[in-house]
């Protein structure tokens, strides 16, 4: 592998001149520029960026910590991060933590050891197992919940849920079931709060028996639907805390002979690609996933560059999408 020294020798110049020619060509005579180019081509010289970064002691790299990259929502956020990072000359190191705190520590270590300049965290914030923020490691949490400390970018989960539930109430529903995420999940907490707010504004009492806990996965939605079907006084509408569980619940209800939305209304959260394809198509809330990624990357990069973002928290607008799965109470 040719080094800058080799190029210098080949061109009959000093390494300093080569370096300057590479970074500040105007400061090198035309004649020597040509010589240098020739030498570079002849030796197929490529600057050693490891050396460059070492010397500059800045890696121009962001690490993105994601609980599960094979989750489309996260993949979209990452897509947004990548776009901004690349435009700003940063690379992105992918850290799939598979929900392990141990791995999270490793990735945080990467920025402590100068391998990366900062970090975007895609896991929602849990008070009791928060590794971040840490002094000296610039970090932004994307798609978290209310109460996330330090820098974060997200939608207003409370307001979004409130909107969904109000829509159901507006359709005449009074008994509205919830298929939630795990109860300690920050998103669950926010979304449940929105549900309660909507109810109370409509003068409907909160009944915790109408909340069945799921875990954001398909099977939990199916089993929640079955539980609801056995209730003596079953709800007529359902707010599911993500689309996957909503789709599963619809399947469960349909298999029991219910028609959606004639007999039961179902709403989700996330707007997965699927949600447009299923029958009936699903009423839901779309998070601007790519946008969240872009904002988070912008925020982190300005943090790295020593600026102080004007706000610690960026709240992005969500989109409420009414499709076929919700209809009037009959």
């Amino acid at each position: 592998m040719a080094t800058i020294k080799d190029v210098a020798r080949e061109a009959g110049l000093s390494t300093g001149t080569i370096s300057k020619a590479l970074h500040d060509p105007q400061k090198v005579s035309r004649k020597n520029q040509v010589k240098i180019e020739a030498a570079i081509k002849k030796l197929n010289y490529k600057p050693n960026m490891l050396a460059q970064k070492f010397r500059a002691s800045t890696s121009k790299t962001l690490v993105v910590m994601v609980p599960d990259i094979a989750n489309l929502f996260f993949a979209k956020v990452i897509s947004g991060i990548e776009a901004v990072a690349q435009a700003a000359g940063f690379s992105v190191l992918l850290g799939d933590t598979k929900d392990s705190l141990e791995r999270e520590r490793e990735f945080i270590r990467m920025v402590e050891t100068r391998l990366a300049d900062g970090l975007i965290n895609l896991r929602p914030y849990y008070k009791d197992e928060a590794l971040l923020p840490i002094k000296g490691v610039p970090s932004v949490t994307a798609s978290s919940s209310s109460g996330t400390p330090s820098y974060s970018v997200r939608i207003d989960n409370v307001a979004a849920s409130e909107k969904i539930v109000k829509h159901l109430i507006g359709l005449g529903h009074k008994r509205i079931g919830v298929i939630s995420g795990l109860h300690h999940n920050p998103h669950t907490i926010d979304r449940l709060e929105g549900y309660k707010k909507a109810l109370s504004q409509a003068g409907i009492d909160y009944d915790e028996d109408l909340v069945v806990e799921g875990d954001f996965n398909y099977w939990s939605g199916l089993s929640a639907a079955e539980q609801f079907c056995q209730m003596p006084n079953m709800p007529t509408a359902f707010f599911c805390m993500n689309d996957e569980m909503a789709i599963a619940a619809m399947k469960g209800f349909i298999d029991k002979g219910f028609c959606i939305p004639q007999d039961l209304s179902v709403a989700g959260f996330d707007d997965m690609d699927v949600s447009r394809y299923v029958v009936p198509t699903l009423t839901t809330v779309a998070q601007p996933a790519e946008k969240i990624g872009e904002k988070a990357a912008e925020m982190l990069i300005s943090l790295i560059q020593g600026d102080t973002p004007k706000s610690e928290e960026v709240i992005l607008p969500f989109e409420f999408i009414i499709r076929e799965s919700t209809g009037p109470f009959q």
Copy 2:
């Protein structure tokens, strides 16, 4: 930021000893080990990995080039890559190329400039715009088609398609339509070959009018379905080259009043998550996405370490999944 020198001074030892204590603790006296640990803790010393890598002149990093990270199939492959890379002490740099050759060049440059040790390419191989392989850039192509040069990991697209079409033929179908990808796409070519093979073995003539070109996206599947509906002698079964188009086609056929699988059979390719949820559920082929990623990473790492993998091409088994969308010809 404390350096090894600071630790040496604090501990009253030389930098060489600190370094040794960090990498080969047995070769340092117990007493000094304790001193060193204390100094490290006191100064909160973290080794500068940029310096380490520079010196070792190996980055322990793989770059993964992906046409679109917000595509679940790719996300799953990456998940597999990440797992293996991490276990082997490699980081993965994500390169979302958004289908731009320019960006591909940048990522290839990263390994030429020592920023990464090797590269996994997730874009299928096109003869006329092949940037790889390049001497000095260890690379593996994942999920490509037959005829990909150099190292690759994939399923046998020809055999998988053949299997699907044989299944349709076995159900009594004789006129089998195809919704293909773009005609020059390597996957399209392989899958079409499988289709032809199955036909010829059943003594059915190939009729190119039954092949409608799509582009692997939803809308193209829908419009292909409409085209088929206008044919005087419409096929009774359809082989769609991915699930997205298959799902769109089903929607199109259903909207025209056809019942699936009673009137028409539809098969896809990929086994997206959706494909289990749609009504009717979709007959398709599952590619072992994570496995493909794992194998590709293993192959690349052994390449980087100077081993020569025994085979240039790893063919992984696919899974043929019969669901509700295909049924007997009536």
